[in-house]
């Protein structure tokens, strides 16, 4: 049935646009005159009234828009209050520890330490308010500098960043020596 197809088209357009769409634009898109378009939409509106539908078409000054029915309000409030499960994954923890100990640090420096692009974990940590932007580095491209937030301090029971356990330079030297020793033990077989 041709009319069914047109209804489907109208539904798809209103869904994609989100906002109100003027009758003349709708009519053009479905290749019908405005009168026909209006009649079809009126008809659709009636059918959206069915109690199994959660959305409906409203008319606003000669334009049409899809929206949820007013009676759905409680349900929508409910879903928006059901929290998604958030976890600090291994990736996030790793990134967080680098930022905590190396701040202020740019995203590129984080990438370099981790060996992989870290946009995603950085964005997640920003969303969780565990890190924040501290300003910009005075270097080409003026990259953003990241650091931890007050929220971070509170969650870890720290008074200030100074109370972060230090990674002392000696420890670093140790690592270097270790690596060198390991390298010496290897006979290169080229």
């Amino acid at each position: 049935m041709e009319i069914k197809l047109v209804e489907a088209q109208i539904e798809a357009i209103l869904f994609t646009m989100g906002e109100a769409v003027e009758l003349d634009r709708l009519a053009m898109a479905i290749d019908h005159d405005e009168d026909t378009a209006r009649k079809i939409i009126q008809n659709m509106m009636d059918r959206y009234e069915d109690e199994s539908r959660g959305i409906c078409i409203i008319e606003l000054d000669g334009a049409y828009q899809l929206c949820t029915k007013a009676s759905m309000y409680e349900t929508i409030i409910k879903i928006t209050h059901i929290p998604k499960k958030h976890v600090l994954t291994e990736v996030l923890l790793e990134t967080l520890s680098i930022i905590a100990y190396k701040q202020p640090i740019t995203r590129m420096q984080i990438d370099a330490i981790r060996g992989v692009k870290s946009d995603h974990p950085v964005n997640k940590l920003l969303e969780y308010n565990l890190i924040c932007e501290l300003g910009r580095l005075d270097a080409p491209g003026r990259p953003i500098l990241f650091g931890t937030t007050e929220e971070f301090l509170r969650c870890f029971g720290l008074q200030s960043l100074d109370s972060l356990p230090a990674v002392n330079p000696e420890k670093l030297e140790d690592f270097k020596l270790q690596a060198e020793e390991e390298a010496h033990q290897l006979t290169l077989d080229i």
């Binding site: 929508i76 928006t80 929290p83 958030h86 923890l93 969650c155 720290l158 356990p165 670093l172 690592f175």
Partner: protein, 258 residues
């Protein structure tokens, strides 16, 4: 051999090999290794890649092909109990796997095209539900994670990082990327040949340590065999290659025709 003026760009050695196999319309399970190796070497000689990283990957494959080629030229050991594996087998497996992924990536491409015709809608949470900014309970998120745990994670990252630094090389300071000059090595081999007449492949490598130099030297040797300027013997598999220099002059790469 004439090569089309404009070189096709390949993603890597496997890509190039598959192309050659298809172009020659040969059976992937029975690759005419001599022919394909020659064409492969011809191709990479034309490559003017400034990117050593990419070039070295193509060269490694060249060395693999040459190795397979030489193993195939050797007579199969007669009284071996086990049947000798086709030296090409490993390469064939790799090629098949790679071909398979090229095939599925094509399928995925179609799927993506179909899927791109579907439209989604951005969220439209009513304004009046203004408190919809999803609350994230950071404290719960952090849970029983302690500072010392975070510290431990950081330490292990830093340790991993210093492991990655090659302590020997890092002492050289800044390493200038060295251009490996095939024509220079080509000449060097011949000069060595004139001076020693009979020598071993290993002798040539004494002053050269990088993988790249080994490969380039090996390529040079192959060229000289092709030109009939040297002859090689190898008594047993894995034995050092004995090289006899038969010419008495040095030919440049230009003179040799490449």
């Amino acid at each position: 051999m004439s090569i089309p003026v404009k070189l096709e760009v390949f993603e890597g050695p496997l890509d190039l090999l598959l192309h050659l196999i298809e172009k020659n319309k040969v059976n992937i399970y029975d690759i005419p290794i001599v022919e394909i190796t020659e064409q492969y070497l011809d191709y990479i000689k034309q490559m003017e890649s400034r990117d050593l990283e990419i070039m070295s990957e193509f060269l490694v494959m060249a060395a693999t092909l040459i190795k397979i080629k030489s193993r195939m030229l050797l007579p199969a050991p007669e009284s071996e109990e086990e049947e000798e594996l086709d030296p090409r087998q490993e390469l064939v497996d790799k090629l098949l796997e790679y071909k398979m992924f090229k095939y599925v990536s094509d399928k995925l491409k179609d799927k993506q095209e179909d899927a791109s015709r579907v439209m989604f809608k951005s969220p439209s949470i009513p304004k009046e539900i203004s408190d919809y900014k999803e609350e994230i309970d950071v404290e719960e998120l952090v849970g029983d994670l302690t500072l010392s745990k975070l510290h431990e994670i950081f330490t292990s990252i830093i340790k991993r990082q210093s492991d990655k630094i090659d302590p020997v090389r890092s002492k050289f300071g800044k390493i200038e990327q060295e251009e490996i000059d095939l024509s220079h090595i080509f000449t060097q081999i011949q000069e060595y040949g004139i001076a020693h007449k009979v020598f071993y492949f290993r002798n040539l490598l004494e002053s050269q340590t990088t993988r790249m130099e080994v490969i380039v030297t090996f390529l040079g040797i192959l060229e000289l065999i092709k030109l009939g300027r040297i002859k090689i013997d190898q008594e047993y598999i894995l034995d050092d290659i004995k090289i006899t220099y038969m010419a008495s002059d040095v030919i440049t790469m230009e003179e040799a025709g490449f």
